[in-house]
Amino acid sequence: MNNPSEEIDQGRRGFLGAAAGVATMTLAPGVLLHTIASAQPRSERVTDAVRYGMLIDTTRCAEGCSACVSACNQENGLDLQRMPAGMDPEKWDRQEARWIRKVKLEDKLTGRITNLPMLCQHCEHPPCVDVCPTAASFKRADGIVMVDRHLCIGCRYCMMACPYKARSFIHAEVEEKLTLAPRGKGCVESCNLCVHRRDNGEDSTACADACAAQGHHAIIFGDLKNPESTLSKALAAMPSRQIRENLALNTGVRYSGV
């Protein structure tokens, strides 16, 4: 009596029911989809349809130039940090929050010198997220690795786990901050690929803009998932590497000429 075809029918019915549910659910976001095209600030949750990343052409990165660093500092209010009174300047130099640092590499055998900006690599499998005990360190759907400072307890496990020394801890109270870049004592922070620019529909980062303004064009920012993006085309055209690729983190920031 137990006809197997009936069971299949049941399955189909369930599937069709679910499909109808999905169809009605997408009707409401459809309204929002219309508004997102005209309004600048984002009104829908980010999705994994994009993955933001960068290609840094180290052959174009000039020695002595720190335009990307200053642009980042100004964009994200890092230049508003003040050394606490009576602190040893050397200690402050180690503790001051930095989202990008310029690194100079020298090949001891050949003497070849490479300059590059080092920042959060926005890994697909970020070690900082793995170790965070409060889920403050997280990866946004669009690939940006950031800290939810409402949840950060300042344990600094993420700083220990990061192979790139990309994160900073805010040791002292911060008097001045920008509306778009909250910053306070006891939290960890790092590059967020100018997330406010992403959410307001802009197409670049402060560092990439500053580098281009200097005429170097060493930083290409874009969407790794879009084969038509400038970034994807550049990655297809020139050899590039991930730093510490042996860790298999699949970084979103790639380097060429290293």
Binding site: E44, A71, Q74, G77, R140, H150, T179, R183, K185, V195
Partner: protein, 162 residues
């Protein structure tokens, strides 16, 4: 014994009376600060009674939407509170909203609630300068972003709002 009881009840009555007087005063007062944008508005983003009780709830939900979902066009936002409720001092400077006599500070002081929003968040609307002025043309600041006339921190020139 009876005396002590009587004295005790007088004290409690007196305390209750004082509290009531304070509460009536608080309810009668409009805490919106003169000179702020909010003073010219008919109501907040929600009815005033609702906002008095639930302002922390609505921005708590919104912060997750913004931090994790990237949604910046929300009706409720702390940046919106600060932009609208901030007042200007006699010299034209924007006053921090958490100051003792300002919108956030006055009420939290009265209610004895220590708030730590401003450990991290800016207390006056602040703008960042435009790195590439040509990129800014035609951009309007969305809700939750600094309102016109925002204070610029030292070291930042060329106010250009995004």
């Amino acid at each position: 014994m009876a005396n002590a009881l009587l004295r005790g009840s007088f004290i409690s009555l007196g305390l209750a009376g004082a509290l009531l007087a304070l509460a009536v005063q608080a309810a009668g007062n409009n805490f919106v600060v003169t000179g702020s944008q909010a003073a010219n508005e008919k109501s907040c983003v929600e009815p005033t009674d609702f906002m008095r009780r639930n302002h922390m709830e609505v921005i708590k939900h919104q912060r997750d939407e913004t931090v994790h979902g990237g949604i910046r066009s929300t009706k409720h936002s702390l940046a919106g509170c600060i932009a609208c409720h901030g007042a200007k001092g006699p010299t034209g400077d924007l006053l921090p909203v958490n100051d003792e006599k300002q919108f956030c500070g006055a009420c939290h002081d009265f209610a004895a609630v220590r708030l730590n929003c401003f450990d991290c968040h800016a207390t006056v609307p602040t703008a960042r300068p435009a790195a590439q002025p040509n990129r800014d043309s035609g951009r309007s600041s969305g809700s939750g972003l600094p309102a016109p006339g925002t204070k610029l921190p030292p070291g930042h020139s060329q106010p250009a709002l995004r």
